[in-house]
Every structure is written in structure tokens, then in C-alpha cells.
Amino acid sequence: MKNIKIKADNLNVHYGEKQALFDVSMYMEEKQVTALIGPSGCGKSTFIRCLNRMNDVIDICKVQGKIEIDGNDIYAPDMQVEQLRERVGMVFQKPNPFPKSIFENVAYGPRIHGIAEHKSDLEEIVVNSLKKAALFDEVKDRLYDAGTGLSGGQQQRLCIARAISVNPDIILMDEPCSALDPIATARIEELMGDLKTEYTIIIVTHSMQQAARVSSRTGFFHLGKLVEVDKTETIFSNPSDQRTQDYITGRFG
């Protein structure tokens, strides 16, 4: 058994009147990939947006329950949400590089958190992050070109480089490949394999093959409830719940 990095306890989330998550409890292991699958609108995105408190931005969203990272309650009153997000990076469904140069995109996080003291430190961080995101070789001659000018797959890797530039513990990925073609998807999946040696990764995905390929544990969400969470092999070969069985065999969803 690996170390437990994140632990959610009886998590309930409401958007106004509508309840989006019902009593979700699960844990995620350190330096492993955990996949969350389920049909659209099942609450899996809502769940990972609780892990870095991105739901704070939405006024009508109310979160009840407890989430602990390394044993610290992230919804505690004295928790600084900016510092939390520095430790818990996020990659979104659609690549969202800032309309700045490639360099500035990656340097954004280190700059706002004051991580680099000198310009040379900053350059080192940018280069290393781009290397880790397997993007450096493709862009090393045009670091000062617009990040928005890259292809979709490159943009998504740029966003990954941006996320790891502040050296987080955890990276949340919300359907990171849904806007990408199969080749770009394969590159991102390969990258996840490398990244999990250093980071704890939580990925939301619609593709069950992807979940099977990249993750060690998988959770299945349905209608706001966590139906089942287990080792990925178990979920895909021998699920204990009929709904999971139906979903992975393609009978609904």
C-alpha cells in the first residue's frame, strides 16, 4: 500500500438548489495516477475541482465535507487558497495558454509566487518545465513566440509545463485529451507515465481505454455518486457493481 496523498470524506456539493455530489469518500495514492470515469454530468469534474478549490470561483457552489491533503484540511479557515493551488496544479479540458509568449506562459506561476530570485533561475525553471512536459525540443527556437500559435497538442503540453513550473505535489487533469487528436493524446499519455514518478496525478477522462492505460486506481462516478473505486485492473475486469459493469461494457453512457 502506497502513501495516501489525498483523502475525501463525505463530500457533498450543491450548485444552488441542485446537488452535484452525494457523500463521496475516496483516497488517492501518492505518485500514482488515479482515473475518474463516468458519463457526462456525473460529477467527476466537480469532484476534482474541489481538490484545488476551483469551485470557490462559482458563487452558488457550496461544498460540505472534508478533503485532506497530506493530512491537512484544505477547506480549513486558515488555508490560503493561493498556496493550496500552488501545490495542486491543474490542466483543463481545452488548452488555455495565456495570450503571451511561450516563455511568459511558463514563467507566470514562478513570477507570481516569487519562486525565482534571478532571471537565470527563472530561465532554468522554464526550460526544465518545458523539458518535463516534453515540449522543449519543439519550441526551443521560438520561446518568445505566442503560446496561442502552437498546435492543440503542443498547447496542452504548454499548459502542463505551466502547471509543473511551480513544482506542485499534485496535478489535476480534467479531460486533458478531449480536444486533441490520437497522436497528441498518445504523447500526453506517455508524458503522464513520466510525470507520475514525481507527481500525484488525478485524471478525469471519458475514454475508458485511457483510464486503463494510464492509471493504477480508477473511480467510477454515476449521477453524483461514487459507485465504485478500486485497482484499475479490478474495475475493468471484475467490477463489483452492476452499473460499473454496464458502463465499461458500453451499455450506457
Binding site: 487558497v81 498556496q83 496544479g89 488555455n96 495570450p99 507570481i112
Partner: protein, 463 residues
């Protein structure tokens, strides 16, 4: 006469719509053949034939008849050969007045009485002729088009074609007006520059066209012209006041936009935004007396309290009020631009652990910058074109100064001053207004053009 005739034409149009519609339905049932369009299109088809040519003929008759009438009525006087063009047209006015029963002069009574009779006769005849021609034409074309309906005729296409022509004509009206205005500006400006060298106008430091006015046109001396039309003080005044206005409106407008788009709750936004936009709807004259009666004295009192000499009409007062007036231009446009920055960029920044302020300053404003700059430029061109506030609050004194506490004047104000009151149309003074107008037009056009280019060039950066 026009009203009755047009009502008649419209009546014929409505009747012929039903006629065409009826005929098409009839054909459909009796011939068992399919027509190419729905019945009501045949109605439109006949109605168009009934109305459009008739209106065109009416338009032609009305535009040519006055010339024809004048020639006919004045033929006796023209035959005498002793009248000039101007005298003839005055004479015609006199005849018209006499016909209406207004009698001002007693000369030439016999000839004029004859002409009045002629005028009454020709007016009556032309009126009758117009009725006959227009209505006759309309009726004939109704007959023609009703019998033209057959299964091969695609009236739907014809109606579409007609609408195309109609749309085109309407847009042509706007375009031709613009072109016409530009050319009349250009023409008068060129006449002005034939008397006053363009370099004197653009680089001269002294603006005092009154000097030309006080003399008779015949006495004009080149020395008077040489030093009277230097527009630099006006350019400087315009620039100074616009600058003051921008100093007020840019920070206030931009911060308002940021508050409205990023901080205000939807509730606050719903009532605050319309109120701010009302600022743009207040008539400039109201701003003008607000500036003249409230702000200018306030500026003067404060200035004097601080030991400065402030004239009672100051560029500062006018510029300040103008700045208030253009706040909504900046805040409203910038607000829209900032709001249209995709939510994904905000989330991307928050997810990096940025605060709201950092997100606004480092991501949103740079992303929205082109639109914001565009709104500034539009506001500048509005400020440059503004007249009333300056007329009322900044004075008319064309002094070359950079002191905002002094009276100043702008291009638009001087145009107003020049064209108020009676004067000969071809004096250089009057024409200088056109030269100023053209200058203003070119500057505003250039600013608008640049603004649109800036906005267009950078807007597709994120999608």
C-alpha cells in the same frame, strides 16, 4: 396634390395585390397546371408593377416641373433680354408671391399680371397631366402584369430581385450622402486654399478671421489674409482639451470597467451599468451649462484660492466635463471586452494560484488590451468632435497656450463661431470653416480607422 395622388397609387397597389393573387389562384384551379410560385407572390408582382413605375414617374415630373414652369412663366421677360439670371429668379419669386396674393411691388404690373395668369394656368395643366399620366401608367401596367401571369412566370424570383435592388438603393443613399459631404467639403476647402496658402493655415500661429470680416470683400488685402487664418492655436486648443478629457475618462472609465466586469455582483451590475450608460445619453448642451455654470466657477475659485490666475472660462473646466461625458464610452466598451476574455483564461490563472488582482493585471488586461485601446481611440475622436461644452465653458478666444487654466478654443467651436450670423458665402472667412471641418473629418476618420484596425488585428488571439 401629392398626398392624394400617392394615396391613390397605394390604393391601386393594394387592389392589384388581390387582383394578382386572385388571378394566380384562378389559373391554378382552371388550368390544373402548377404555377412556379405561391399565389401571393403573383399578388406582390402585380402590386410592384402598379406602384413602383408610377412613383418613379411622379418623382421625375416633380423634379423637372419647377424648371419648366419657370421657363414658361418668364418667357416674356426672357424675350426682353434685359434681365440677368439673378433678377429673373427674384422676379419669379415675386410672381409666385403675387399669385398667392402677396403684393410687394407695383412695377411691371401688366407683365406680372400676365405672368401670374400663365403661372396659374401652367400649374393647373401640369397637375392634371400628372394625374392622368401617373394613374394611367399604373393602370396599364396592372393590366399588363395581370395578363402576364402564366405558369412559366416565376414571380417569386422577380420579387426577390426587386428587393435586392431596393436594398442596394437604400445603401446607396447613405453612401452617396457621405461622398457628397466629402466632396462639398473638399470643394469649399480648395476654394479657401486658393486664397489662403495651405501652409499658412496649417502652420500659422494667429487665428483672427474677424479681421477679414470687418472689411468689405472688395477691400481685402493679401496682408489681411496672410495672418488671419493660422489654425495652430485651434489645433492646440483641441488637443489640450481632449487631453484633459482623456486624463479624466481613461482612469475612471477603465477602473469602472474592471469593477463592473470582475467584481460587481450581477445584481449591482444590472442597475449600475444602465445608469452609467445614461451619461452618454445626456444632451451635450446640458453638460455645457453644467460646465459653464458649476465647474468653471469652481475651478476659478479653487485656483484663485491657491493664488493662481484662472480665467472664468477655462480649458480645464471644459476638458473635465467632457471627460465625464466620455466615461461611458470607455467603461462600457472596455467592460464588454474584458468580459469577453474567455473564462478558461481566468481559471487557468486562478489554478496557478494567482489572486484576483494578479489575474486581472497580468492576464485579463493584456488579453483585452486591443479592445481597450480601441475604446480609448473612439473616446478621443468623440472628444475632438465635441462642440457644445467647449463653446459654453472654454471660451472663444483663440489663444496659443498650454495652460489648462486659460481660456482655449477648439476647431469645432470656431466653426460654430464662423457660421453664426449673416455673411457672404464666398468670403474666405466662411470658407475657412470648411477647411476646419475637413481637417477635423480627416483626423477623426484616421482615429476611427486606427481604432478599428487595432481592435480587428488582435481580437482573434484567443478563441
Amino acid at each position: 396634390m401629392g398626398f392624394i395622388l400617392i394615396s391613390l397609387i397605394i390604393l391601386i397597389g393594394i387592389t392589384s395585390y388581390f387582383l394578382g393573387n386572385f388571378r394566380a389562384k384562378n389559373l391554378r384551379t382552371s388550368n390544373q397546371k402548377n404555377l412556379k410560385s405561391l399565389s401571393h407572390y403573383y399578388g406582390y408582382y402585380v402590386a410592384l408593377w402598379a406602384v413602383v413605375p408610377a412613383l418613379l414617374i411622379l418623382l421625375m415630373i416633380t423634379s423637372f416641373k419647377s424648371f419648366f414652369i419657370e421657363q414658361y412663366v418668364l418667357s416674356d421677360f426672357i424675350a426682353l433680354g434685359s434681365y440677368t439670371e439673378t433678377e429673373l429668379s427674384l422676379l419669379f419669386t415675386q410672381i409666385e408671391n403675387t399669385a398667392l396674393g402677396i403684393k410687394l411691388f407695383d412695377e411691371n404690373t401688366i407683365l406680372i399680371d400676365g405672368a401670374v395668369n400663365k403661372l396659374n394656368y401652367i400649374n393647373k395643366t401640369i397637375e392634371n397631366l400628372t394625374y392622368v399620366t401617373v394613374l394611367g401608367f399604373s393602370g396599364l401596367l396592372v393590366l399588363y402584369s395581370v395578363f402576364n401571369i402564366n405558369h412559366k412566370l416565376n414571380s417569386r424570383k422577380i420579387v426577390e430581385k426587386f428587393l435586392l435592388v431596393l436594398y442596394f438603393t437604400c445603401s446607396l443613399v447613405a453612401i452617396m450622402t457621405t461622398v457628397g459631404i466629402i466632396f462639398s467639403l473638399l470643394y469649399e476647402t480648395l476654394r479657401f486654399f486658393s486664397q489662403v496658402p495651405i501652409t499658412d493655415f496649417l502652420f500659422g500661429l494667429n487665428w483672427s478671421p474677424q479681421r477679414v470680416f470687418v472689411r468689405e470683400a472688395g477691400d481685402l488685402d493679401t496682408r489681411d489674409l496672410a495672418n488671419a487664418f493660422g489654425a495652430v492655436p485651434l489645433f492646440a486648443g483641441t488637443f489640450l482639451i481632449a487631453l484633459i478629457a482623456m486624463c479624466v475618462s481613461v482612469p475612471v472609465g477603465l477602473l469602472t470597467a474592471i469593477y463592473m466586469s470582475e467584481y460587481a455582483s450581477p445584481k449591482v451590475r444590472d442597475w449600475a451599468k444602465p445608469i452609467i450608460e445614461i451619461l452618454a445619453g445626456i444632451p451635450t448642451v446640458v453638460y455645457g451649462f453644467f460646465a459653464a455654470l458649476t465647474v468653471a466657477p469652481l475651478v476659478r475659485d479653487i485656483g484663485q484660492g491657491a493664488g493662481l490666475t484662472v480665467s472664468s472660462e477655462s480649458a480645464l473646466a471644459a476638458g473635465f466635463v467632457m471627460g465625464i461625458m466620455i466615461i461611458p464610452f470607455i467603461s462600457s466598451l472596455s467592460d464588454d471586452v474584458i468580459k469577453s476574455v474567455p473564462q478558461s483564461l481566468r481559471e487557468g490563472s486562478y489554478a496557478m494560484g494567482a489572486t484576483k488582482r494578479e489575474t486581472i493585471v497580468k492576464v485579463l488586461l493584456p488579453a483585452a488590451l486591443p479592445g481597450i485601446v480601441g475604446s480609448f481611440l473612439l473616446a478621443v475622436s468623440r472628444a475632438i468632435g465635441e462642440t457644445m461644452i467647449v463653446v459654453m465653458a472654454a471660451g472663444l478666444n483663440a489663444k496659443l497656450t498650454a495652460n489648462p487654466l486659460d481660456a482655449a478654443t477648439t476647431i469645432t467651436t470656431q466653426i460654430v463661431v464662423i457660421l453664426i450670423g449673416d455673411q457672404e458665402f464666398d468670403s474666405p472667412k466662411t470658407q475657412s470653416a470648411f477647411a476646419l471641418g475637413l481637417t477635423l473629418f480627416v483626423v477623426t476618420l484616421a482615429l476611427n480607422f486606427i481604432a478599428l484596425q487595432v481592435v480587428k488585428k488582435y481580437t482573434e488571439r484567443y478563441d
